[in-house]
């Protein structure tokens, strides 16, 4: 038998039928949230039911408030937002789907909770009603985001029609430098291959830097695969993966654990497996990164400068750079460390896990926030652990605001948003125009870089503060 990539192995085992190169895949788990109301509307309008309700998991995250949560759903002042939370509860109750609801002690973001609960496991196919479903690939599963029509199909049949992606391996050699995090790595990868560089591909991240990385870090890297246009991101499961999973509520126990473990060890790509495209980076070359523009590919080291469109030879690219700088109100060629910010957001499915909060707290305890700075843990579990470790005290003492879990200022639809013209150093994943509020400006950074920006009021090389 020829050598296979991890993607190919998982794909093959899930094929039910094939039509002219399009295959019907079995879906192990489907992940939905309040925004899946469109999928439920389609399901209801066709009078269909959820085929395998025990394999569908729902999360209150996009629309939940991040303060005043003691009042539960009644604490949501805006009726349209409250209605989204209520609708998900009604739809999941009607169809027998498990809901991690607003009052659940396990509540959190749909890409934070399933790994915590052991729902995410190696070798699975996971479909989520959200593009950052790629996060789960950190466990060696094939996980990707889909729209409402496809989610309706998944809920109705527990299957999805797919065409095989090409494979890309991104190998990161050596080690990451002082003050450099998985977020900086993925921003560097996107800057290198472009926001469409992964289109049509599933990316497997490999090499010593990935092997040495925690599950939290691998999730951050896989999370932003979609920002490179990739269908999914993956990391081979190893001892780090299994150690993370053991004892989690949905993880197998006893004899079943050993049986599962034997299977999980067969999931990684074979040594001789061939990838359609190979990309290599040196860990030591990567500095703390910031985005200056309106696409995640507009990323550069904090030691760098905003581009000067006049120096761009390609006229299309020149116009694009000029438009991004104009929207962001930045001067061509200005030092990135001169960019003043109005707000800081530490949170989102990219960077709201315990390690992210620890890294941010390590910076926060060295000073005091000069601008409003929010910490939004990814889940109740992360929030509790951080509080046990005293991180909330460190943040509060440094003038940061400690809030309740949800998507918050990343997707900016729960009522948390920037005012027009405000500029935010954010640990989220998208710096699109208006993403954090109409006419707002976003600079994507790592959690320690965000904390550093809070202490100085501008984009700052965190390595100077950590020395």
């Amino acid at each position: 038998m020829t050598a296979s990539t991890m993607f190919e192995k998982i794909w093959r085992r899930h094929v039910i039928a094939e039509e002219e190169g399009e295959v019907l895949l079995h879906v192990d788990r489907a992940l939905i949230h309040e925004g899946s109301s469109h999928a439920f509307e389609k399901l209801d309008s066709q009078q269909r039911t959820v085929a395998r309700p025990k394999q569908v998991f729902a999360f209150n995250d996009h629309y939940v408030p991040t303060t005043g949560r003691d009042k539960g759903v009644d604490g949501i002042a805006i009726p349209e937002i409250r209605n989204m939370v209520l609708k998900l509860a009604a739809n999941t109750a009607k169809h027998g789907v498990t809901l991690f609801g607003i009052d659940d002690p396990r509540q959190g973001i749909l890409h934070i909770v399933p790994p915590e609960q052991g729902i995410t496991q190696p070798g699975l196919v996971i479909c989520g009603a959200d593009s950052h479903t790629s996060t789960h690939g950190a466990f060696g599963c094939l996980a990707f985001g889909i729209g409402a029509s496809e989610m309706m199909h998944v809920m109705a049949t527990q299957t999805i029609w797919q065409r095989a992606s090409k494979t890309m391996r991104v190998t990161v050699n050596g080690t990451l430098g002082f003050g450099v995090t998985p977020k900086d790595l993925i921003l560097a990868i996107i800057a290198k291959i472009g926001a469409g560089g992964g289109t049509g591909h599933v990316i497997e991240y490999a090499g010593p830097v990935i092997r040495a990385m925690s599950m939290e870090g691998r999730m951050t890297v896989c999370n932003m695969s979609i920002e490179a246009g990739a269908r999914a991101g993956m990391v081979a499961p190893d001892a780090t993966t299994f150690q993370y999973m053991e004892g989690r509520p949905y993880a197998p126990k006893g004899a079943a654990w050993n049986e599962a473990l034997a299977f999980w060890k067969t999931v990684p790509s074979d040594t001789e497996a061939r990838f359609d495209r190979e990309v290599t980076l040196e860990g030591a070359d990567i500095a703390p990164m910031v985005t200056w523009g309106t696409s995640p590919e507009h990323a550069a080291p904090i030691t760098g400068m905003a581009p000067d469109p006049e120096r761009e030879l390609d006229s299309t690219k020149r116009a694009e750079l000029a438009a991004a700088l104009e929207y962001q109100r930045l001067k061509p060629g200005m030092a990135l460390s001169e960019i003043s910010i109005d707000r800081v957001f530490i949170g989102s499915c990219t960077n709201s896990r315990i390690e992210d909060l620890r890294a941010a707290a390590e910076v926060a305890r060295r000073g005091r926030a000069r601008v409003p700075a929010w910490i939004v843990p990814g889940s109740r579990a992360v929030q509790r652990q951080a509080e046990q470790e005293g991180l909330d005290r460190i943040f509060r003492d440094a003038g940061f605001e400690w809030r309740d879990p949800g998507c918050s200022l990343c997707t900016a639809i729960n009522g948390d948003q920037l005012k027009p013209g405000e500029r935010c150093a954010s640990t989220s994943n998208r710096n699109f125009r208006g993403r954090q509020g109409t006419n707002s400006h976003t600079h994507l950074v790592s959690p320690p870089m965000a904390a550093a920006a809070a202490l100085t009021g501008r984009l700052t090389d965190v390595r100077k503060l950590l020395k």
């Binding site: 925004g35 469109h38 593009s131 029509s149 289109t199 979609i226 246009g229 696409s295 299309t316």
Partner: protein
């Protein structure tokens, strides 16, 4: 799903790479149930000022306000998986987007809603956008059956499309109808799979 066969219509050029789905449908409109109101949601924050007055935007200008085709640059529809971006395009009247590349999820969402995503080379897209900029209101003809786009100068560009996507769009088929034929195979698959990985089903 309404079939897509052949369309001759006004095309609007978008000389901008990486147009993300947040632009097509700002997030706060995601909670709006699909309806005619989505026409105004398309590019809302680009087309309308904070007080709701129209801005100078190509889709607010005649004749492009009647466009049914968009000719874009690379990575159209990147970002969020929101299908509301397609509802906005469709309700505005757009039936086909031509671009050198698409965000994967958005292209799927388009096809599942009867909106044809056409991939032509970056050079071809640039040539057609230039024609459309020079001749506002000019039409293109997109023939899915023949897999061709006829540009303003009458030059015919052939495009590739997966045979299943083509068939579904031409006939207006939805996936559920296709999947239903495999009901027995799905059951057989699930039985074998559950025996092989029983630990996946022991919820706490």
């Amino acid at each position: 799903m309404t079939p897509f066969t052949k369309l001759t219509a006004i095309a609007a050029p978008f000389d901008e790479a990486n147009v993300d789905t947040n632009q097509l449908c700002p997030t706060r409109f995601n909670k709006v149930p699909r309806g005619p109101g989505h026409a105004r949601i398309l590019f809302h924050d680009r087309r309308f000022a904070l007080d709701g007055t129209p801005k100078d935007h190509i889709l607010n200008r005649e004749p492009f306000s009647r466009a049914q085709i968009i000719v874009a640059d690379r990575n159209w529809g990147c970002g969020s998986s929101r299908e509301s971006a397609v509802y906005a395009l469709y309700e505005f009247g757009i039936r086909c987007v031509i671009a050198p590349s698409f965000g994967d999820i958005h292209a799927n969402n388009c096809a599942k809603n009867g909106l044809l995503p056409v991939v032509l080379s970056a050079t071809e897209c640039a040539v057609i956008r230039k024609q459309l900029n020079a001749h506002p209101g000019a039409t293109l003809t997109v023939d899915l059956s023949a897999q061709t786009v006829t540009d303003v100068d009458g030059v015919v560009h052939r495009f590739e499309i997966h045979p299943v996507r083509r068939k579904c769009l031409l006939e207006g088929l939805d996936d559920i109808a296709r999947t239903r034929q495999y009901a027995e195979r799905i059951e057989g698959f699930e039985e074998a799979y559950r025996n092989e990985r029983p630990w996946l089903y022991s919820n706490p």
